[in-house]
Symmetry: C2
Subunit: 339 residues, 2 copies
Amino acid sequence: MSRPPRTRPTLEEVAARAGVGRGTASRVINGGEKVSERARLAVEQAIAELGYVPNAAARALVTRRTDAVALVIAESEERVFGEPFFAGIIRGIGSALAEADRQLILLLAQASQRRGALDDYLTRQHVDGVLLLSLHDDDELPDRIRAHGVPVVVGGRRDDADSDFVDVDNVQGAQLAVAHLAGLGRRRIATIAGPADMVAGRSRFEGYVAGLVAADLAVDDRLVVRGDFSQASGEESMRALLSRGVEVDGVFCANDLMAAGALRALADAGRRVPEDVAVVGFEDAPIALSTRPPLTTVHQSPEQMGREMVAMLLDTTRTPGAAHPGRMLPTHLVIRGTA
Amino acid sequence: MSRPPRTRPTLEEVAARAGVGRGTASRVINGGEKVSERARLAVEQAIAELGYVPNAAARALVTRRTDAVALVIAESEERVFGEPFFAGIIRGIGSALAEADRQLILLLAQASQRRGALDDYLTRQHVDGVLLLSLHDDDELPDRIRAHGVPVVVGGRRDDADSDFVDVDNVQGAQLAVAHLAGLGRRRIATIAGPADMVAGRSRFEGYVAGLVAADLAVDDRLVVRGDFSQASGEESMRALLSRGVEVDGVFCANDLMAAGALRALADAGRRVPEDVAVVGFEDAPIALSTRPPLTTVHQSPEQMGREMVAMLLDTTRTPGAAHPGRMLPTHLVIRGTA
DNA sequence: GTGAGTTGTGGGAACGCTCCCACTCGCCAC
DNA sequence: GTGGCGAGTGGGAGCGTTCCCACAACTCAC
């Protein structure tokens, strides 16, 4: 609880050493306009000699800004560090923020065990805005933060939040996949869907149904299984599908990992891909290149998603009033060997 | 550049509403001692009604503390999100910090492109201390930060920094591995070493040599190859080893990923493991369980390493003077199927 | 009834900045 | 000369806290 003694030079000391006023020194540091060359040099030298670094707290106190943005990932370490999706989105967010001269602060919701610690951090104006990445939709964090006047942009849509989100157009992507399968003449198109408590799971399924309808195919319960986005669940689901006695000739998997699992199950069952069964995934993750044959899949760009999230957040901080309609990023099909 | 209008309630407003002084309100918030029940209730109610949240900048300005600690990872997103090592260490750090009521702030050095942005952030007392994870040793970041009086603990030792680091005892671990191979009667023990510009690479090699010496075996250049810690390089290195015409009967691989690659190469070459060639890895990464046969390896605990780093950092912030000798964490051998 | 504690309390001062206003120059036009 | 203007400058005020000191209001001996 004791306050550590101050040891670092203050702006006032810099000014004194440079023989100018505090105001002038401040102007030099903040790229100020009206400063004489002489004063600028004197201040710069004093800064170098003293090793002066501005105190962020003091600055934030008066400017009410920190130039930092938090990215909150509400997933377990395992998932965050397992799925390449996160690496991509962080790369996009990181570079977009760097361009805007904002510092990215990454917070793993799991890591802050103490209930409320995260809320506290985010609402106490440590950051100018919050980017939230949560794939589940039972999270009330965004509402709690917004209530304190902190701008939030959510990556991955929540059903009840109709604004300030960025998401991949899952419905359109899934439809694309099914249309492709139908275009190849497949008539008994199954799906290995994702969990129903994730938007990605639900809307890709929705797109699957829409795709079938568009191709004049009936929706058949026996052709639907739900996995949990893991490779193991894909394999298992495919096995289940095959054991139902319905002759499947096409499968749309809600992500690439499950598709990889499905391919394995199909190989074990002696089905040829794509001759007997055509398979399409979703994500265009790295694994899509290393399956055998390489996976035909719906391409999404996490990096672009990250950049869009930043753009929207910065826009919100500039014009506090404006709510954003939410932005859906288009996908496209990458045709490789499985369909 | 314009200052957003204030909208959030201040402590003064809370105090006014509660009918007490600013000091009393502050005492209630900070779990103060001498506050009457009546005052406490009044303040708590005012806080709830107003939705008051303390301003971190103002508090930090006077206390000179932020109760936040930065974890800087100086690696590419690919590596960070590829190696389970990082997930483990972050879990350890996260939970240790949470127990100490500190907020963990994760900074990816790669993500802040602008040269100096990271230095600035760390230096301007946004955080009370810095944990640095860099596997290469050409980094001068820790020195730059320390120069500004910010405590730093490095994970993974740097050769020239003889204090304030935590690392796995790589030498001891590698020695353990070689001793085990020698104990199995192996006489021509090769190594697939790691890169020479990483401490882990160098010291595991050092341990390999020490292990050979301890077992009265000669060091033979033809039994040494260097990989880059990737699975592909392990496979390639093993092939190179086999093509040298020296009959290898044991291999110590500097990490599990390379060991997995080596196993593949050995299988391709028709060598039986462990009968013809015994293999030991290092890390006890998840992949060690899924190789065939399961990998015998040196176990290290990234989670414990994270916790130790936090302990050391907190100790430094409490007693600013004390330098720490650096802490080496012991490893132990996990015997599975390959040796 | 006095003096010495023990609880609680209010508010001034300080933390290190940015913002802004008032001021001093020097220059030019008239 | 005088007035006006723009460039450059110094420093007061204020941001929202915590810390601490002075003080009020009790209680409890003696």
